[in-house]
Subunit: 110 residues, 4 copies
């Protein structure tokens, strides 16, 4: 998918615009468009956005935009996003131990 | 990975906080933290952020945070993020045709 | 205040960094830092953030950052922010009429 | 201006939506809309956005939206935004001293 996005941008001559800075900024703009859908909703209403086809489509669309820019950002900088996430989850498992879970065991298995 | 994140949140009792609205907002906050790394850099400097280990680590970390919240958001709303991205790429291939490419052929291959 | 911020940046040689693009991005980063204070709060909790001196200070600090970048952005582009706001309010008064209010009268007074 | 915005929202029954959290989120969404104007521009192009009437209008419009939500946010929380900014500037004058300027004198004049 990351490769397909890179080919897509290259075929259209968009590479000069796709600096890491611009892609990070574009990602944040798309994230804000996703937030916009929810901005005046109560927590309860926000849980029901997929019930209306129109809003469901808008949500899927913005989610796709966020992921597209995230993958393109990672492509231009050579970041392995799944590696980065796995490393983060492992750090967070140490940082936020589950109450009552034997942390010693978890430590030793890492 | 999406499942692992869901289990992680559930084990810590974080689910009540993880409304779609809050997760979308958290995603946008993390996207802004990624942008912050680049905010005063020229386009040229922004292409070199991975050369300094400290900045490289910070970039990977923020990228992981963005993906983590994106996946958790998709999990609570039941959105298939890869499906959404594939659908988006197909729409964009029609919306932004490559100059000189036979679009009829492209249509027929989809 | 806008002048004082411009002098502040000029005295420190920060002007080359203060392109409109960078200032708009910095503004959005500060707005996200303000949002971060609220991201996991319920609407009710969010109404009480000023009760804790530490959070109150953080809110005031982020609000100041947002306004500082907004004014600097307006300074470099020559935008009169109060004029822009007054024009916007007038447009919104027409766009969102108050139910039951005689709109004809409102029109004629503008 | 802050009062006028508050009356505007009250007259339209928007107050229940105007929690501090929602207003902070709305502010960040508007900041992203301002950023969107600049996202693919070079620093040089970004300095010329006011030359095209259409873009100039869009910039003024987004700036107004950012200020409107900032003032409404401050109104509901009772934050004096100009006080907050003045305090911030004073702290920054100490934090980022001007090279070669007699800081002792600056201190005594505050």
């Amino acid at each position: 998918m990351q490769r397909r996005l890179a080919d897509f941008a290259a075929a259209r001559g968009w590479e000069p615009y796709h600096t890491p800075k611009n892609l990070a900024v574009a990602l944040s703009v798309e994230a804000a468009e996703l937030v916009e859908i929810f901005q005046w909703l109560t927590p309860e209403q926000s849980a029901k956005v997929m019930e209306k086809p129109e809003t469901a489509h808008r949500v899927a669309d913005e989610v796709a935009d966020v992921l597209a820019y995230l993958l393109q950002f990672c492509e231009v900088l050579g970041v392995d996003v799944l590696d980065a996430l796995a490393a983060k989850i492992e750090r967070n498992e140490l940082r936020f131990p589950v109450p009552g879970e034997p942390t010693a065991h978890r430590h030793s298995s890492e």
